[in-house]
Each structure stands twice: as C-alpha cells, then as structure tokens.
Symmetry: C2
Subunit: 690 residues, 2 copies
C-alpha cells in the first residue's frame, strides 16, 4: 500500500487562508491535486499560486448580497403553513410566523395575498373564502371572521427568505457573530438572471487561478424551515423537496405553461408539504418537471458562460464524480455531537465511514474524493491526518481495478420501485442518518455493495409499460402511504395487474416492511397473494391467523443467519395467508422472513431491514434465491459475512475487504467453487491476483 | 372466615348425572343453593329430588334437533365471503366453501342467490353484475365470466349452518365422537316460532323440579366461523357481532320495516365483517336495532310463557346477576392448555381469576356465583374443591358490605367513549384473553376496581348532545380506525367541537394509545391540541419534533411509579405539539405519559395500557389529577400499589385486599389522611371496622 503510484491525485483538499503551511503540508500528505475554498472562505494568494489546481466554490444565487439587499422583491420565497389555531369564538387571529424563525422568514405581504394565499378550516377541510379573512400587513397576522368555534384554522402564506439556510447553518454552527447574513435571489426574474450572469463573469475574472468551478445548490436549496424556540430549533427539512422553488413569478409562469394554476395547498399539503417520502400528487410532479426544465435551461446558460470564460478543455456533459469523505471538518456534527473538538474521535468516524463506502466503491467507480470544511481543525489530530492519507492511497488503488472492466456480478438485475423511480436513484430521502427509520435506505446501503446490477423504476413506469425486460427481481420496501412503499399507487389496477402477471411468468417480488400496502378491498398488502403474507393492523383481529411450522434454519436464504434476524424496528402483526407460504423466521408469532412460489415466480418478504453484514448477506442470498441462482451464488463470496469481495475478471484480481472493526479469517470461494482462506485485520483489505 | 353465616347460599353448582354422590358432597362443601345442568347433560332423578333448587339450561333454538333436521330451510344462516381468488384468465372459478368447515356450513343455493349474493372485483372495488357469474349448485362453486386477468375476486354468499357452533365446540373439545350434532333454527320464520313455544312448553312440563330456567344465547350466538385445515382451525369469531342473525327472511323483513335493503356487502364488509372493534356503519347500526327489537319481542313471549307455566313468584324484569367463576370445568382451556387434566393447576387458575374479579366485587355487587362444565373433572383435585369453598365464603361476605350502601368513591365520574356507548358497557370486544392487545379492555379491567363511578357513552351521543353533565373525565382508548378509538367519527366537526369546548370549560380528556386518531386535515390525533401530543406515523418525518426536559418523577400522577411504565406493546412515535405539554415519562425519545392544561380543563395521555397494580394506580392518580382532586385522592388508599381497599361508610367497614401472590405490608390512609399499617398474606383480605 506504499507504492508511489497511489500517493497522489484524485483528491480535493479544502484550503484555508491563514493556514498556508498546514494547507501545503496536508496537500502533500494526502496527495491532493486540487485545492478548493469553502463556504465563507477565500483562499490566500500563497495557496492560489501553489501550483496545485484550484477549485472555487460558488453559490451563484447568494453571491452578491448587496444586490440582494437592494432588491428585496427578488429574494427567494416559499409557502409556509401557519401553526394551527383553534377558534374559541367567531374571530380567530393567526400570527403567521409563530413557530418560525423571523431571522429566516418575512411575510410577503406585497404579492397579492388574496390571490396566492389560502385559509383553511382543517376540521371540515373547507377553504375559508378570502372575503372572510383579513391580513394586517404591519403585524403579519391574519384575522378570520365568522369562524366556527372549536375548529382548527391554518393559513397558507408566502414568505421571503432573508437568510439563506446554508449560510444560516454555517453561521450558527461556526459562531460567526455579526458576519453578514447571506440571502438567495430568485432567478425566475429576468433582472435576476441578467445580474447573475454578470456576477459569474466578474467572479471568474477575479479568480484567474481557478481551474474548476464548484456550483453549490444550482439554484435552489432543499427545504429547511428554522423554528423560533429552543424545543423546536428546526421545523421542517427535506433533501428532495421543491418547496423553495415557489414564488409568484414561478406560479404565474407555470399557469401560462401548463394551462392550470397551482394552489398554495398543492405545496402546503395540510402542513405535510411534499416531502420525498410522501406519495406525490400528479400536480406536484408537474411542478417538479416545470422547475427542472427551468433549472436545466438557465443552468446551461450559466455553465456554458463559465466554461467559455475558462476555455475549458473538458467536454461539457462528461461529469466528474467526486465523493466527499466524512466527517465534515466542522467542530460539531449535524446533531451537535463533537467531531473536531474535545470528546470527538474523527479518525474512528473517518474509518467507519470509509468502510461503509468502500464496499460500494468495489462495485461502482468514483473519480475523486475530497474533504469539506475548515482545514485548521484537523491540526490537533495527527492520527486523522495519517488516516486520510491511508484512505486516499486505498481509494486510488481501488480505482485502478475498474479500469479494464466491471467486477463479477450475479447475472441478476434488481429493480427498486418507488414513486420517484430514476429521478431519485439511490438517494431517496437524503442521508441515512437523517431518516434511520427508513427500511429502503438501509436496504440500498446493503445493496450498494452487493454483486448485482440495480436500477430504479417508478410505479407510473410499471403501470404504463410493465416491469422492464432486464429486471429479474423487483424490490418494494417501505411503510404504508410512503413514496417508497407506494400508498395509493397500489389501488391502481394497472400496477397490480402488471406486477402479478410478471411475477407469475417467472419474475420475483422482494417486499420489505409494508410492501404494496394500502387499505383497500379488504386487504392491507394489495399483493398479499404474491407475497404470501398480510399484516394485521387492528382491522381484522377477529380473523384467525394461520399457524406455521417452526422454521428449521436450513433454507438457502437463511443459511448464513445466526439466531434471529435483527431488522431494527420492523413490522409486527404479519401472518401467512395460507399454508403455501414458508416461514423462515418469526418473532412472537409474527413471521419476519417468508418465501412463496407464485406461478413460475417467487417472492421474499422481510419484516424490516437495517444495514448490517448479516442482513446484506441475507439480501444477497434472497436475490439469488428469487433469481433461481442458488447454484451460481457461491462464486466469489466469503463464508464469514463480515468479509466481502469483488472479482475483476479482466484484471484477474480479487479484492477482499473486512467491513468490521475486528480481525476476521474466512474461507473465500472462487468462481469454480474452490475455497481458500483469507485473514484480514480490522477494516483491512487484501488484493489477490489469481 | 369460618362463620356459618357465610357457608351457604348464592352459589350455583353444575350437577352431573352418574356422579350423584360427588354432586351432593360438593353442593354441601360449596354451600350451593341451586344445581344446574350443563350443555349436553341431564340431571338424574336423584339430584333433581335432592331438595336443592334446580336450574335447567335451555338453548331453545337447538332444543329439537329432529325438527331442525326435518326443516333444513329453517336452519340459521349467515353470509360468508369466499377466499379471494386471483384471475389468471378471463374465467375464474371460486370454490365457495374453500377454507371453511363443511361440517359447519352448507351453501344455501335455494334462496335467490342472484338476489342476495354479490360478486366483487376487489382490485377495482366494483361489483360484478349478476349476469356475469353462474352458480353451480351441485359443487357449490361460482364461475365468473369476463373477468379481468390478475384482479382479485370474491363472492358474498349465504350459508346454512348444519352444526351449531357451541355444540361443535363442546363436541370437539370433549371428544363426543358420533354423538348427535345439534343445529340452530331461525326464529324469523313463524313456523319456527310456533314450534319453539311448543318445545318450551313441553320442556317445562318434563322438568317439574326446575325452578330457574337458564336460557343460553337467546336466540343467536356470536359469530364463529370454523376452518377446514389444520393451520387455520377457526376463521373468524367475535363475541359482539350480529353475523348469525342474517337470512333471507330477516333481510326481507328489514326492507319492509326500514324502507331500504341491506346488501350482502353491508355484512361482509370486504371480509372484515362487522366485528365489534371496527367502526360500525349507520346501516349496520340500523340492522342491530332491527334485530334487537325482534329478539326482545319474541324473547318476551318465550319468557312470559315460561314464567307463566311455572307460576313464578319473581317479578319479571328484576334480573339476578350471576358470575361464573373460572376455570370452566373442562379438561382443557380455550387455547388447548390443560386445566382439569395432567399438567393443569386449576386451584391456581381459580385463585388468580378470583383476585382479578374480587377487586371489582368490592365496587359493584353481584348476586350469585357459580361454576360451569362437568363436575366429575374436579374429583381428583381436592385442593380445588377447598379453594372454591373458601372463595364462596369470601364472596358471601363481600356481598354483605353492599347491603347498606355503596363504598366510598372519589367524587369523579369517568365517561368511557366508544362507537357503541351503553350498548357495550364494560364488555367491548369480548374477553380480555381473546384480545389482549386492546388497551381499552385492559383499562376497563383496571377501572373496574377503582373507587370511581363509570359510565359508557357513544361518539354519536356526544356529537348530538355533548358530554353529559355528570361526566368529569372522558376516556378515549384504542388504536386508529377501531370502534374504541373512533376512526371516522373524529372527522365529524360536531364531535370535536363538543369535546374541545367541554374540556376547555373544565372537563378532562384521558387518551390512551391512539385517541382521537384519524388522518385528516394534516393531523393524526384530531384533538392533538387538547392532548398536547401527536403521533408520527411516517407521514411527517421531515417535520422536526419538540424536545422536552427529562421527566423528574415528582408529578402527582407518577408518584407511585417505580421506573418506567410498562404499557405492553404501546404506541411509539409520540411527540409533544409544543412546550406547553409536560412529559412525565418517555422511552427512546417517545413520550409515554404526558399532561396538559387546556383552557380550564386538563388532559392526560398514556401511550398504551395493560392491567397491572402499578398501572391501575397510575390511572387512579390520573383520574384524580384530571378531576383536580389531588387533595381528595389519599383518603382510603393503600401506599403499596399491590393492595387495594374499599370503605363502606354505612357499615363503617374497610376491606383491604392483596391482589398479588406474595405477602404485602403497607400503610393505609383513612378518610382523614391518617395512616395505619396492614399486613396481608398472598391473595389475602382484611376486614377492619373503624
């Protein structure tokens, strides 16, 4: 691992002005070929002239704060729903921003509130006519007349954002005091667009050393509503929502383009908004497409302009994929826990993160890695510095294996079906740590390191065109009513017809948690016949449940499982629909793993999922069983589930990795079924040529 | 406890022919004043002439099996839904009785199947027109033409029952071999009614020694569908359903009386039927009332007839309440576990049961106790014989305390609100052991022994007339969508208006599990503002939740709680709506006990409930806090939660009971707040005059 071929390149270092020596030392140690700036920092001339490629970060929409301040009508906007207020008499006063950060939001009283806002009686679900409410622009309060006592009322209203949320987060987390609060401007206005292109030109001209421009959040951030009290610091956030793309200009443009009008309620959705995990409405999908078109169109103008100015040799359209390592170089993490601070252990954090991503890097190549944040924070952590140097070398080595072709996979192709399909390939609902309760995210984490091909597909795609020819196993994972499980989609006859007929003809359905779940027609799992199981949610407790013989642990799928599966907070109340379902594991009488034959096809049900070596293996075996590839499964696998391996046939190289913090020795099976022994230290790696 | 005043009376013994000596011995030992027969038994002349009052059991509708056999068109009927069948082509064949016991059911092919039956495409929810299906009366199969491939189909069809379900259960459990299988006849037919009155006359004439007639199941049993395969011995059962009251005669009478027609689907309800725990439809409530009227009317005829024949001195209308002790004198219990058989411990069973009912007997008097089943089974269990003698004495003693007036209670009156209200006072969904998952049943078990008054009220009552004046604390306990929690009722504005305004004016809401739950208007708990908590069900995971200070255990409600509350399988994902909710206990960040002030009223939320001494005390304290009777609470309470007491002011007698199987000593507080010490043996009782 000390070969100099792996000592430099493919590494982006966050430089920091005032720490030029440290920047130079770590650039050398980590083999950085690019130095970038970070949010709120500017590289010094010394660093800029160091000879290393310079990457400059630009969040275009908040790049000119003076202009933003001078043009408050061009600030980005969004809809908020007021906190519900219960009427105690015929008049209700709603303080619109109660509960929300007044540092972040101001009520937009200028853009036709009666036209864009809506007031709802949430008890009846009926909109209060605009003639029955009044806005006091001075106090930001709405007064509802002729209210029904003891009903709950809410107001959907437009706000301007006077503090851009990432600026806000960095400012607060790094304790920036009276440093300027940045604002984002709305590119839907032609004046804004013209100004942004000027800003970009000027910005590039001022940075002759910059070779790469890193555009952050082009042009809209994910939604992040901050709160106004200590018990609720944040109110709402979603990495996939389009909430911050809404404003009167966009709404008017939408109406013109699509021939109908989006209402405030289309966005507010009774306070649930349109988070990625909620099943989207057709109208909201329309809005997303409309916004996407705009961002691509104006984004192309910006990028073209930028590239032209730089006379970039790179062909537009070929992306370079860079993976940012964790932890972020901040004193504390997202939940306030110490990282580069007293009590933190950034080296361990980095190793754990690396072990998680490494298994995926064996399956799919990434071009570069890098770090983000403030470099000076790593100075007191020499261990961390060495650890990153080691990881960088390992990364460069792993990259080389992909040079001549893909690694060996089972000839199985898994289709993951969600409401979003390709649009949210792998990402789903943001980071795993933000929604650790989502079975799908865990399942994808396991899947990312398995030797199978994966694609993402939407319920709409399947309803319209069936399951694509290439897919052999379809995964539906999530809780009832979510965009992942599917909710209302499972009431669409076309969808269930397509999936049933496809499985019966030889396909396979892998259901996790509450697959195909939606109460309808007396069923909860709409494909309970395919899955072979149903869930008792309290509606049918008078119906007796099938008993089943105790599992004996000999099934192909559970052969590597020691004891009961640990699926975290999984689903209970599961029961077999009849004796045709085979229960492979159960807890308190509720099956946790089941299989069934359906026509010429198969199905596998898991009551939940958390990523772990044992569960990744269970999934691997489950996919192989569903694909009827039990015989092909052993090739290039490790007996001990804590080890994984990848075989690169073109290089005749086998890479074995240890995903755990203990030394592990295990038998490893080659393509011919022959076993040999491999021993690895904690988090270790072995490169074997065969 | 050996006072002869308590050695006889108020006890009903099940006599058994062939065991005359044992019958006489136990009648003496247990102080029985009445001997009764049991299902399938007939008392011998020796017993009948023993001088003890004779109670004879009669299930009128199955009393003349020869007539039932000769009149198969008069057998009782019901609707069944066939097991769902997925179409694989344009024609689907549905074997109607697949999954159901053919010993119990035969398809009724005679009564206008096309008029009464319905076939559904459960994938679309649309009924298949009668012209598109055909019944093969010979095989009992329906063939559907022009089906949509891969849709699920079901048939609602009428069956006759050729084996009455209690006869079936007794027959199978007691291994009666080729003994006759009894059938129930349908009293909706005038011929049946005339015949039943004749049977009753004859039956009474044949039993000159009989002083009391015990009518069992007058005239309809609870629903109990048996299955046809070992993995599903029973298909469906509910102690409160009206499924077995349905037949063409009744359906026609209903249409005539009410002016509209009940459909098969009104009963089948997509296979969920109308179990007591499901929220009833208005039409089903109508059916229940219609049936109730008929049963009362014809029942009155029968009873009048019976009393007249006997020249009974008792005034009709005054009921004698008899409590049947457990265990039942059968070799095995309902789940097949041994009772009066090798491996059983009927004495312990009896004591445990007695301790459970005794605390309720302190609060509300019962007139008599008794046993059921086959007396000879107790012969090898002398311990059990002595135990029952002891319990009978204790029962007679407890009865005397109520003679001069009610025991002391907190001046609080708890209203338990369900979809059923008074109709299902205390009973709810049948026995606790059948649905141990129901929070309400556990809560009622605790409530039955607490010194508070209780009444039952329906959502309809409250929506129409508000919470009754006398009620101080309203309890809503159960899971979303159940008849206990309320489901769709909570979308009715009148209901939420009434409850909100009542609490705000000084009432109190006690919510358990998922109170007021129904997804609507962006809320899950419709009265989250009153309760102060909401539940995350996966729809709003992007909304941040309020943090709360760690509970310090000093609140009045939790003062007797040691450690975390144990509510069994309670509800997770609970969060405070804002800082105004006080969290008294939590688990994994999810509050389990919270309180809130609402206007002049209060609310208490518990995430679940199982009956235990600790939880009964928690409920007792919770009611006192809600009633603002913290000062009145200590009077006549025991410090140790395993003891309970009742103060009978008119008799100046305090009864202290030990509800647990260990000796307990505890301080007890009198009405003036003075403490004194009481020590009791396991399951013990102390009678203190003061």
């Amino acid at each position: 691992m000390r070969d100099d071929a792996f000592s430099t390149g493919s590494f982006t270092l966050p430089g920091e002005a005032g720490f030029e020596k440290l920047t130079a030392k770590l650039a050398e140690l980590w083999g950085a070929d690019t130095i970038r700036d970070s949010d709120g920092t500017r590289l010094s001339d010394e660093i800029l002239s160091s000879g290393t490629d310079i990457c400059s970060t630009l969040c275009l929409v908040r790049a000119d704060n003076a202009w933003a301040k001078a043009n408050p009508d061009k600030l980005q906007q969004n809809f908020l729903m007021s906190r519900p207020v219960v009427a105690t008499g015929p008049t209700v006063r709603v303080d619109l921003l109660d509960g929300y950060s007044r540092d972040q939001f101001v009520v937009n009283v200028d853009d036709d509130p009666r036209g864009f806002w809506q007031v709802f009686d949430r008890t009846t679900g009926v909109e209060v006519p605009p003639s029955s409410w009044d806005l006091d622009a001075g106090t930001g309060a709405v007064t509802i007349a002729r209210a029904t006592p003891w009903h709950r009322y809410t107001v959907n209203f437009l706000v301007r954002r006077i503090w851009e949320e990432i600026s806000m987060y960095n400012h607060v987390t790094n304790d920036w005091g009276d440093r300027e609060r940045l604002m984002s401007v709305e590119p839907r206005h032609p004046e804004t667009r013209a100004h942004l292109l000027e800003v970009l030109d000027r910005w590039l001209a001022e940075r002759p050393a910059t070779k790469v421009v890193r555009f952050t959040s082009l042009f809209y951030n994910f939604a992040w509503f901050w709160g106004d009290r200590p018990e609720r610091r944040f109110v709402y956030s979603d990495w996939g929502s389009y909430d911050f793309t809404v404003n009167p200009a966009a709404l008017r443009a939408f109406e013109k383009a699509r021939g109908y009008r989006m209402s405030s309620e289309d966005f507010v959705n009774a306070g649930l908004y349109n988070a990625s995990h909620n099943v989207p409405s057709a109208r909201y999908r329309d809005w997303m497409e409309f916004t996407h078109d705009f961002v691509v169109e104006f984004g192309r103008t910006c990028v073209f302009n930028g590239f032209e100015a730089r006379l970039c040799a790179a062909v537009p359209g070929v992306a370079t994929r860079e993976l940012r390592l964790h932890p972020y170089l901040f004193p504390t993490g997202l939940r306030g826990e110490p990282t580069f601070a007293e009590g933190g252990n950034p080296t361990l954090d980095a190793k754990r993160y690396w072990v998680q991503v490494r298994r995926a890097l064996l399956r799919a190549p990434v071009d570069r890695i890098g770090l983000g944040g403030y470099l000076h924070l790593v100075e007191p952590f020499p261990d961390f510095q060495d650890c990153i140097a080691e990881l960088a070398r390992e990364f460069r080595l792993l990259k080389t294996f992909h040079e001549r072709g893909s690694p060996h996979v089972l000839p199985a192709r898994v289709g993951v079906v969600t409401a979003w399909g390709r649009l949210r390939t792998w990402t789903c609902s943001g980071h795993l740590h933000e929604h650790p309760e989502l079975e799908l995210t865990h399942m994808l984490e396991s899947l990312s390191g398995l030797p199978v091909d994966v694609e993402f597909i939407s319920f709409d795609d399947i309803a319209a065109r069936g399951v694509p020819e290439a897919i052999g196993e379809l995964v539906n994972a999530g809780r009832q009513g979510s965009a992942w499980s599917g909710g209302r989609y499972w009431k669409e006859p076309a969808l269930v017809e397509r999936v049933r007929s496809w499985v019966a003809a030889g396909g396979a359905l892998i259901g996790i948690g509450e697959p195909t779940a939606e109460p309808h027609g007396g069923s909860y799992f709409q494909l309970s016949d395919v899955l072979g199981v149903e869930r008792e949610t309290g509606r049918s407790i008078c119906s007796a449940k099938c008993t089943f013989p105790p599992p004996d642990g000999t099934h192909f799928i559970t052969r590597d499982l020691e004891g009961a599966p640990d699926f975290g907070r999984d689903v209970d109340g599961i029961h077999a629909i009849d004796g045709g379902t085979t229960v492979l594991a159960s807890r308190d009488g509720s099956p946790t793993i089941t299989v069934r034959e359906y026509g010429s096809g198969r199905s596998l049900y898991l009551s939940g999922f958390v990523h772990s070596p044992a569960n990744a293996r269970l999934l691997h075996r489950g996919i192989a069983w569903c694909a009827r590839m039990e015989a092909e499964f052993p090739a290039w696998t490790c007996e001990d589930v804590r080890l994984e391996c990848a075989w690169y046939p073109a290089k005749r190289t086998l890479v074995v990795i240890n995903n755990c913090g203990d030394p592990v020795g295990s038998r490893v099976f080659d393509g011919g079924g022959n076993a040999f022994r491999v021993s690895l230290e904690a988090h270790g790696i072995a490169i074997l040529e065969r």
